[in-house]
């Protein structure tokens, strides 16, 4: 199993989600983060005070996938998040030692394989 961590622009999130959905990647977590990846910082001014904003808002995706799902996941994120400008973000693929699904106690591959949702 791998953990795909992707840092993307906030305004690309809908596009990334759409691509992931098309790639049938279903389990993911996102969080709002701030980061700096070489893009130009912008200056803000509040009355007499000017500040350089070194960090830009980004959104971090964390997606636990089984090995054969890594490539489609990465490709989906690349497609959805890319604008071609500096600041599009990064994707990290990280090895995962163990995964547990809390509800069932299932481990590893089983835990990251989506179950068919019972209709409620």
């Amino acid at each position: 199993m791998k953990l795909v961590v992707a840092i993307v622009r906030p305004d690309r999130v809908p596009a990334v989600l759409e691509e992931l959905y098309k790639a049938e990647v279903q389990g993911l977590t996102i969080s709002r983060v701030q980061g700096h990846g070489g893009e130009r910082e912008h200056v803000e001014t509040y009355r007499g005070t000017s500040v350089k904003m070194e960090l830009s808002d980004k959104v971090r995706f964390e997606i636990g996938v089984s090995n054969h799902f890594v490539e489609p996941t990465v490709r989906a994120v690349l497609k959805g998040a890319r604008t071609g400008e500096v600041g599009d973000g990064k994707i990290f693929v990280v090895p995962v030692e163990k995964v547990f699904r809390i509800r069932t106690g299932e481990e590893d591959e089983k835990a990251v394989t989506p179950v068919k949702m019972a209709t409620t």
């Binding site: 701030q34 200056v43 803000e44 001014t45 000017s50 604008t83």
Partner: protein, 463 residues
Amino acid sequence: MSRLRGYSRFLAPAALAAVAIASTPGAAYAQGAAAPAINQGDTAWMLISTALVLLMTPALAFFYGGLVRSKNALNTMMMSFIALGVVGISWALAGYSLAFAPGNDFVGDLSRVFLRNVGLEAQGTIPHVLFMSYQGTFAIITAALISGAIVERMRFGAYMVFIALWSLVIYGPVAHWVWGGGWLAKMGALDFAGGTVVHVNAGVAALVAAMVLGQRKDFARQAFLPHNVPLVLLGAGLLWFGWFGFNSGSALTSSPSAALAFTTTFLAPMGTLVVWALLDLMRNGKVTAVGAATGIVVGLVAITPAAGFVSPMSGLILGCLAAFPSYYALVWRARTRLDDSLDVVAAHGLGGTVGALLTGVFAEKAWNGTTDGVLFGNPGQFLIQATAVGAAIVYSGVGSFALLKLIGLVMPLRAEGNEEGVGMDVTQHGEEAYAEGEAAILVLPTGDVKVGATAMAAEGGRA
């Protein structure tokens, strides 16, 4: 007695004095028998009304600001706030003259540009400067209303140029037609506080602006949710408060007519609010807060042209009826490709149209002293109302389109796609509505920057 704005100048002086005396029980202030004199009660009420209407523009900023995404909150609010400046100034420089100077049937002449001949003398029964200020607050909010259709994408500079010119070229003449003694006034069109002049006018300009500017870049691909619904409710509440000055002040006197306009402004939005809530309930099973705020505004818009012309119960019924067209137009608009982002067309254009037409239905001579509507045996009034609305639609539609295209030749109207992505607050204003300041590095006047306690030379030298 006629309460049409601007009309007082065209009444015989004797009739005017009679109106003034009738409007002040006890007639404590000696009135000249013929010459119009300043009435203290009227002046006091109009001073308050002017301040009330001015407050509506910040209120609109909250209403609109809450409806957009957080990255565009300041930009959206600034579109209303800047109107206080640029439209206010263009009003003083020329707009007032175009709207209210004598002139011809279509536009005022230039006798009052730069506020020449606008002094402390009586205009009706209040000082002329006060009349000018009061009318100026209307020009400001009318221009600001348009911004709802083009939020989250229009360049701020182009917007400022647009509203400054729009208030002169479009608002001035339309105000003149109805309130400045122009052709619609002569025809007998009823528009107590601006259903046609303000709301139809702004609504049509909004429609045109949304089409000329085009959709936001992620329109129909991404949900644009209101980022702060409490702000929307705050804005709606303050709008209602200010609207008492808008409608009741349009009597231009502290009089029974003002009291009638106050009462209908009190009742009509209540009807719209409740009907809107019921429509929400039937459609979604829940009464929504954004819906409630919208319903209040639609009710206020609809009663605006009718405020001093209809009975209180007619006002309430008018408010209830006005909910239906705007509600369904709003639901329908969301399925179209028109990115009238904050539904100015449905709320103001349609709400104003319905209000103006229903004024021709519910107007009642027993209450307004001058004109009956369809229900009281004067079917012709409906046609007059429809003519006024149609004229405003055509003029504002064509004029706003031409104006935007002309400005577009000189400067780009739209922000770049990536600026839209980052958000208009940062790209247009260099500020954030909800800055955390975590990554803010202080730029010292020397060009150095300070991170915490450590000062280091600014790399780019930009400040």
